[in-house]
Amino acid sequence: MLNAAAPALEFDHTLRSVVLGTGAIGAVSGALGSFAYLRRQSLVGDVVAHSSLLGIVGAFLLGYLLTGTGSRSLWVLVPGAVAAGVAALLLSRAVTSRTRLSEDAGLGVMLALFFGGGVLLLRWAQRHQPVIPGHTGLDAYLFGSAAALTTTDLWMISSVGLAALFVMLLLWRRLEVYTFDPLFAHSLGIPVRRLEAVLRVLLVTGVVVGIHAVGVVLMIALLATPASAARQWTRHLGTMVALSSLFGAVSAALGTVISARYAHLPAGPVIVLVATAVFLVSLACAPRRGLLSRMRRRVRSVEVAGA
């Protein structure tokens, strides 16, 4: 990806659709990322993202073995990614709940198994003789390559994301109560096991959608950074999710535009840095929680004490 210069994009129809597409991707990941943030699962999202590589390459190779041609159709790769992500999530849960190992260690081992396995398969596919058609595009999943997405891809990925957002809105109040206070939610008769499963699938979906913009390695930034920024501005869950979605969309779209303006700027890292900038501004400037407003308060209280 770094060597192969991204095809230079003009401000034309293609760029507009790519910017809209990555914006939609950022919006979905940002919204679903706030639930991951509030459930303290940001690093879970990181590991799920890394792990999905195994599913993507595995699905690609399976398609090749079955049909004889390599298909990078998202209808093949996305289910593979979701399956691997869910598998990594469940296996790390099993490790954490059945041993004395901490959640961190359970997740770290999944990196070895799923990401290690994913890269292994990826390199194998890339070196395979005879050459598997389409294998070159798989590299894009490491650091993302929004420019390589076709309009069909964008439609597919946006509709998956919108479906996830629809489920989120449909279950909104149950998710709110459950995320805030799982025991209380249980006592109200909410089927918490099913809700937990839904939340897992939503997390994996948010990740799988997002990796198309920033790649598996940097995915955590699209999940955690907009949510952390949004958290600073508000005291309502709804506003936080909306803001996080907005920050995600703006970061992804702006990052794509910037990377298209200059040569040899891969989109993924630029998107991440835009999101980081939004986060830093929020951290400093947000009313009440922000560092500046805290400092001002502290100065004032010192003045009052001195007076």
Binding site: L38, R173, R174, E176, F180, L183, S187, G189, H236, L237
Partner: protein, 255 residues
């Protein structure tokens, strides 16, 4: 015909909570064994016992949150599923993320969600009930506050208000006085006693043995099994306390 009449009288007169022969296991090791408990309507009962006695597990078993190995739990003479709306639960304050982006009012309004149905939006009626519940715990002026800005005592008041907004008849509370300052504790206890006097039933996991006689009218001493259960003067005796706490009891009164 006869059966239906039987059932309705049973529902009208049964104790608020009847637990018979309840056994619960965690990882295939028993946590509660053959627990018997009767909680009459209009009583305020403490559940006391050392750490690991299964106090929280008892509340969760009543609420159907942990699988039951054996035994019966009757809520107002019926099953929990039939009677769930008449039961409110106050979990431990420490289990909640107080940095969650929500306000005092929104938390208390969550108490109305159980009756609202999950797709309808909360409206004016829900707002009224939430505000009335805040009024009960004297927290109306904090309605718009972010919950993270509250003191421990205020947070506990909010959790109680959420339960009051459920407008239930049986309240199950897990350590509602932990981390609460003395004046707040006194005010909350008065509130619970008031509720009892208005015919509500309360089962409260409590950690301070010294205040049991002053706060509660009945008590259950629990260590995996119920050692004693009944009016404070009959059940809360030295031998019973010693049998519950064994060698674990340190110093006088508290544990």
């Amino acid at each position: 015909m006869h059966g239906a009449l039987d059932r309705s009288t049973r529902l009208a007169t049964a104790p608020a909570l009847g637990v018979r022969g309840l056994s619960v296991a965690y990882h295939d090791r028993p946590v509660l064994w053959n627990v018997q408990l009767e909680l009459y309507r209009g009583s305020l009962m403490a559940v006391v016992g050392p750490n690991g006695a299964g106090k929280s597990t008892l509340l969760r078993a009543v609420l159907g949150m942990v699988p039951v190995l054996a035994g019966d739990i009757a809520v107002f003479g019926g099953t929990l599923a039939e009677q769930r709306r008449r039961v409110a639960y106050v979990p431990q304050r420490s289990g909640i993320d107080w940095d969650f982006p929500t306000t005092v009012f929104e938390v208390v309004r969550m108490g109305t969600y159980g009756r609202l149905g999950w797709l309808r939006r909360p409206g004016a009626a829900e707002r009224e009930r939430a505000l009335a519940a805040l009024e009960m715990v004297d927290m109306v002026e904090f309605a718009g506050q972010q919950i993270g800005a509250l003191s421990a005592g205020q947070q506990q008041r909010v959790l109680l208000a959420r339960a009051f907004a459920q407008d239930a008849e049986l309240y199950l509370m897990d350590e509602p006085f932990v981390g609460v300052d003395a004046p707040t504790e006194a005010a909350l206890v008065r509130l619970l006693q008031e509720l009892r006097d208005r015919g509500r039933t309360l089962l409260v996991v409590h950690h301070d043995l010294a205040t049991v006689p002053e706060y509660f009218d009945s008590v259950a001493l629990l260590y995996r099994r119920v050692v004693a259960c009944g009016p404070v003067e009959a059940a809360f005796t030295e031998p019973n306390i010693a049998a519950t706490y064994g060698a674990r009891r340190v110093g006088g009164g508290t544990c």
